[in-house]
């Protein structure tokens, strides 16, 4: 029998492929662009490009008075603007050397935790829909709507709220708001159970997140990660516990941590537990809400009440000077960090004694977290890049400023 020609296997040739993912891509959560060098399914190199949403917030802030620059902070992390406002007013209050009254502190803590819930709900919804589960997204968004309705009841705005003000909050809260909020708080843990039923033990979810985006505790600290990204790796750093601001030293809550080294699944567990803790904080704030004023008695720095402005001359002049010239501030510099849903949001102010900040710097957690994407993604599969973008919980408004 004659042998046929042996089949010579031609060596299978592969070529490195460069793919530009974004800036218009639904899974990049905004205008993030990643240039991926792929070898088949494997990511060889990942280069993030940010800055598509750069609006020069720092430069704008340096050209406005301290009181007038507050709405700029809404536009940083636009899905949890309440927390940005709280961060901004805390930093400015530290610079001014004033303190908000007790009631205002409790209200701020309450609304900041509502902001955290609404942000974590978005994170959960988008993270799981990126990986392929549609149901939790729709369930989550329905709950977020309730929080936004509460914000609307509180101050008239749903997204860019500007409710916390330097020295307190804009207006006192109504009994109707408190009742609706309490009803929501009692019911919400069951909704978290719903999400967990659908996601936590889900085989596909576990396969897609466990062992993906692994980072050790030491490395996470060295990268400057904060928030859920850091706590997912087993370090309990939380600004609310380490350097308490507002009423966080008066409420009881726990800081959930993951294992070292942490992966996407650990960070998922941490953030879900954070939602339960945020819910607990809101409940305590509603129950323990002290009576009293909601604006600090610091006429040199805070605007006078509107009814008095309309009635007498002195208050009108006072308001005029504060709005046009700005408050006169001592020379110096402060950095104040606060815990926003994404991590540590810091404001660094340099004052030269005028009513405008000489230097305003925003330390945005998403910016730092975007820089760690190559570290998490390189060497993994291209599908895991999506999981990694979801797990860093990025908002480009904050990243690009």
């Amino acid at each position: 029998m004659e042998h046929s020609e042996p089949i010579v296997e031609k060596p299978f040739e592969t070529k490195e492929l460069t793919v530009s993912m974004g800036p218009q891509h639904p899974a990049t959560h905004g205008v993030l662009r990643l240039v991926l060098n792929l070898d088949g399914e494997n990511v060889v190199k990942c280069t993030p490009y940010v800055g598509y949403l750069h609006r020069g917030v720092e430069k704008l802030g340096e050209n406005r008075t301290y009181l007038a620059a507050l709405p700029l902070s809404d536009r940083l992390d636009y899905i949890s603007s309440m927390n940005n406002n709280v961060g901004y007013v805390n930093a400015v209050e530290k610079l001014f050397g004033i303190e908000a009254p007790e009631r205002a502190k409790y209200i701020r803590t309450m609304v900041a935790e509502m902001g955290r819930l609404s942000s974590h709900i978005i994170w959960l919804g988008t993270h799981v829909i990126d990986i392929g589960a549609t149901t939790p997204f729709l369930l989550a968004m329905a709950q977020r709507e309730r929080i936004l309705d509460l914000f609307e009841m509180l101050c008239g705005a749903r997204l860019t709220v500007s409710y916390p003000r330097v020295g307190g909050v804009r207006n006192d809260i109504s009994q109707e708001f408190l009742d609706t909020l309490y009803e929501f708080v009692l019911e919400f843990p069951h909704r978290i159970d719903d999400y967990e039923t659908l996601v936590t033990e889900n085989r596909i979810w576990k396969d897609r997140t466990m062992g993906v985006g692994v980072i050790s505790a030491k490395e996470a600290v060295n990268w400057g990660l904060t928030g859920g990204m850091l706590r997912g790796s087993g370090i309990d750093y939380d600004v609310r516990k380490y350097v308490p601001y507002d009423a966080y030293d008066k409420v009881d809550f726990m800081v959930p941590v993951g294992r070292d080294p942490g992966d996407c699944y650990d960070r998922y567990k941490v953030r879900v537990e954070e939602m339960r803790q945020a819910n607990r904080i809101i409940k305590q704030c509603v129950e323990d809400l002290p009576a009293g004023p909601v604006m600090a008695d610091a006429p040199k720095f805070t605007l006078p009440p509107k009814d008095l402005v309309l009635k007498d001359m002195e208050h009108l002049i006072h308001q005029f000077v504060l709005i046009t010239k700005g408050p006169s501030v001592a020379e110096g510099e402060v950095y104040v960090g606060t815990e926003v849903p994404k991590g540590e949001l810091g404001f660094y102010f340099v004052s030269d004694g005028t009513g405008k900040p000489y230097r305003m710097r925003v330390r945005a957690p998403s910016y730092v977290h975007a820089s760690v994407l190559p570290r998490l993604s390189e060497g993994g599969y291209v599908a895991d890049v999506i999981a990694n973008i979801g797990t860093i919980d990025i908002v480009l408004g904050e990243c690009d400023r």
Binding site: K59, G97, W223, G224, Y335, Y348, V350, R361, R363
Partner: protein, 177 residues
């Protein structure tokens, strides 16, 4: 450890780099000469009594006409195990806009230094990938400098002119179905 004690330690260890120390609202900032900044940072990072392992923030600042040395690079450091913080400020004169990069100490400094380069034009020696980050690579000027106009330069950025030109050509194009 109290922040002033940390400042004292830096002064003891690096007397020739010392400029001054200021306290405001309980926060301490130490001004330093830029020459030995990486050594100082790795000392602060590695010393077991200090162990400032977390670089909170790094940014530039422009003191045009206010200070003799125009620029500063500001480092906010925090120690997660020991819970203390300090702020370092390295002076960068306009005549020599170079400073050593601290990426070997904190890898997270990478993007912060790129941003400081992008916004102020401060060059970080030894940085692995010093490019503009928030602005397009063809951008001219450094926006956060005090002599940069708020509304931007009079001449439009070339990339935007290019877009306008393309839009005009598309408008003139005869679309047929």
């Amino acid at each position: 450890m109290e922040p002033l004690q940390i400042a004292e330690k830096i002064k003891e260890k690096f007397p020739e780099s010392w400029v001054d120390v200021k306290e405001f609202r309980g926060q301490v900032s130490v001004t330093l000469k830029k020459e030995r900044i990486v050594e100082i940072c790795s000392f602060l990072h590695d010393d077991p009594d200090l162990s400032l392992d977390y670089l909170v923030d790094l940014c530039g600042a422009d003191y045009l006409g206010k200070k003799e040395k125009r620029f500063e690079v500001v480092y906010h450091l925090y120690s997660i195990p020991l819970r203390h913080a300090i702020r370092l400020k390295a002076e960068v004169p306009e005549s020599d806009m170079k400073i050593d990069s601290v990426v070997p100490v904190w890898i997270g400094a990478n993007w912060h230094e790129r941003e400081a380069y992008d916004m102020f034009g401060i060059v970080f020696r030894g940085h692995p990938d010093l490019r503009r980050i928030l602005l397009p690579e063809t951008w001219e000027g450094f926006p956060l400098r005090k002599d940069y106009p708020l509304q931007g330069p009079e001449k439009e950025w070339s990339g935007f002119l290019d877009v306008l030109d393309r839009a005009k050509r598309y408008r003139e194009f005869e679309w047929t179905d």
